[in-house]
Amino acid sequence: MNAAYAIVALPLLGFVINLVLGRRLGEPVAGWVGTVAAGGSFIASLVVWVTMLGKPAGERVTDLNIFTWFPVAGLHANAGLQMDPLSITMALFVTGVSTAIHMYSIGYMHRDPGFDRFFVYLNLFLFSMVVLVLADNFLFSFLGWEGVGFCSYGLVGFWFQREVAAVAAKKAFVTNRVGDVGFLLAMFLMFAHFSSLNYSAVLGTVVKGHATGLLTATPGAIDGTTATAITLLLFLGAIGKSAQIPLYIWLPDAMEGPTPISALIHAATMVTAGVYLMARVAPMLHYAHATSWVVACTGAGTAFLAATIACAQDDIKKALAYSTVSQLGYMFLAIGAGDYVNGIFHMLTHAFFKALLFLAAGAVIHAMANRQDMKQMGGLAKYLPLTALTFAVGWLAISGVPPLAGFWSKDAILASAWGMNKVLWAIALVTAGLTAYYMSRQFALVFTGQARWTEARPVPVGGSGGVHGSDDENAGGKDHAAGEEGSGPGLPAVAHEEAEPRDPTWTMAVPLVVLAIAAVLGGGINFPAWHFNFLSHFLSPIFPAATSAAVSTGTKWALSLVTTAVALTGLGLGLTTWRTATHPKLEPNFLRKAWYFDDIVAATVSGPLRAMANALAFVMDTKVVDGAVNGVATSLGLSGRVLRKLQNGYIRSYALGIGIGLVVVLVYLTFRTGS
């Protein structure tokens, strides 16, 4: 059982080692320290998982108290871990994907001056993330929640010398704070009702698909309204962390961070924390139908909206970012439809294929000397065979082509949506088509057709001779944004025969292959035939039974065929259309500008806030506050200037003063005694 501690302790240890010794260890040792810590954490998760599998399904929940964090009045906050099927599933994929990406980063961050700092953040992130998923109470979870938020801030702004990155980091942080208010309020409300923040106390014990102790047990009895309020507030937190409407705006901007970060934090793990949170409170969500509807509609809406935006993005990472937002919407749709297992299932498969896509995109960006504009790529399959192959796996997986991972999870979610509401299903179906379309567009633009990068290829600084995939990070790492424009920062755009794009080094290639295999086979963990359904059987004891109407097997088959047909149509359309790069009609401006959502937010929220801040800073502060302070000083100075005249240094005037004072005192005494 002590392996459970190791899951949390190893990343923390790696973080401390890199924090203290990182600079001395240097490259690549600091990276390997981080990777080994993450790998050890993954192995520990495997051990815990296997131990858990050895127990009967009803006894798989164990609570480990590490220490009492702080006991205050009625609140006993523990730093404790809860091992149950849900948390260990999360821990497994978080540590697993994390290990792959740690290893990839060793190659990707090669020669970056902040190499050790990168791995400090990365290990701290992993530690926070496992705390978030393994904690046995909301408060400890919130610690991890904030920890990953901080690491996200630090890593999005990793190249903080560039203003875009610094601004994006700030935006991510601030937007997440909005959601965190919801999380905090939800915790206050929980404490008011349960006098505890432990999962077991708040959520009751769920046995065999039935929540007990929630509505009946005396201390923890709550009504539906409170359950709705708590879950809605938690959902606000989830919206912020998992980038749903209206708080998704930070995620596309977060692509300013290094690509491994986009893969790990902003695709595979951190952004799924909101989904995890909603799945965690499933026993309560079960009684809050209003919240379920809100969750499902938000999810479906976000999935569709983000998918449309993804169809018109030029930046290879931005397109993937919108795709992530869209896929997160699917997960929330599943959660809202009461199909918690498939929400988690899609989270898993998405983690595999989206991390894969991002890493492959990173390899492309690397090979293209930090260019990110897909319109200036093309024909890369010939030069980057491995990258193209792995990207293709991710592309087919996310598009929902059977039998790759994405097909199984998306199919299951669509079936659940059908059971809940036909309109939601229709939206999800259209989104599935759009997903296949925009991913094919991306694949076609990057890897097929004409090579459009030969004319305007920037020559990296100091890139004498062959531009090896990882050699130019140092020179161009700060210039991803500039790369978006298609040319390096003020560098001559010269064709460079020797500088052919190449596949990355082995530290980057191995994770690509591993994740590609996971993206192919990942769907197998919940293979829906012969009563296998491993994930469903594993997770179902901790979730309440699905609320939505059961969908019959025949309907499922039919839905499956429809979904696949739509996906293949989208696939074909995307591939054939985007062999050439210019189709302005297919990229209307409102999609390129993401439905002007940022501008709307800027006008309605940021604008007035900024005006208010300006008023406070330049009127209230300078005039009123400073005026008061300066006024006191000025009046004192004035009175001093007047009074110093008395101090003229002439003895006679002092003597006169003494004499007059004496006379005054005597007169006073005389008259007082006289009266």
Partner: protein, 101 residues
């Protein structure tokens, strides 16, 4: 024939006024110093007069205290004056106003 007490008091008052006026109007430090002595001694005269008029020796006691203090003051004051004159010759009291605000 004896001079009546009030006459002494009037003399003391006149002496005091002369001393006070001198202190205020003269610039020479030594003269100012003499004016202070004049004022002190006019007060002494008042003490003695009252001691005599009221048959109370306490007044004469006070005179001794005043004399002692005045002697001490002379020592200190003359020391200061000598020190000042060493630095600058012929300075008046108004020239020594470097402590003005």
């Amino acid at each position: 024939m004896t001079v009546p007490g009030p006459w002494y008091l009037v003399l003391a008052a006149v002496l005091f006024s002369v001393g006070a006026t001198g202190l205020l109007v003269r610039r020479n430090i030594l003269v100012m110093y003499m004016c202070i002595e004049l004022m002190l001694n006019s007060v002494n005269l008042t003490f003695v007069t009252f001691a005599r008029m009221l048959n109370d020796l306490g007044g004469q006691d006070s005179v001794f205290f005043v004399l002692v203090v005045a002697a001490a003051e002379v020592v200190v004051g003359l020391g200061i004056i000598v020190a000042i004159y060493r630095r600058r010759s012929g300075a008046t009291a108004d020239d020594i106003s470097s402590l003005k605000g």
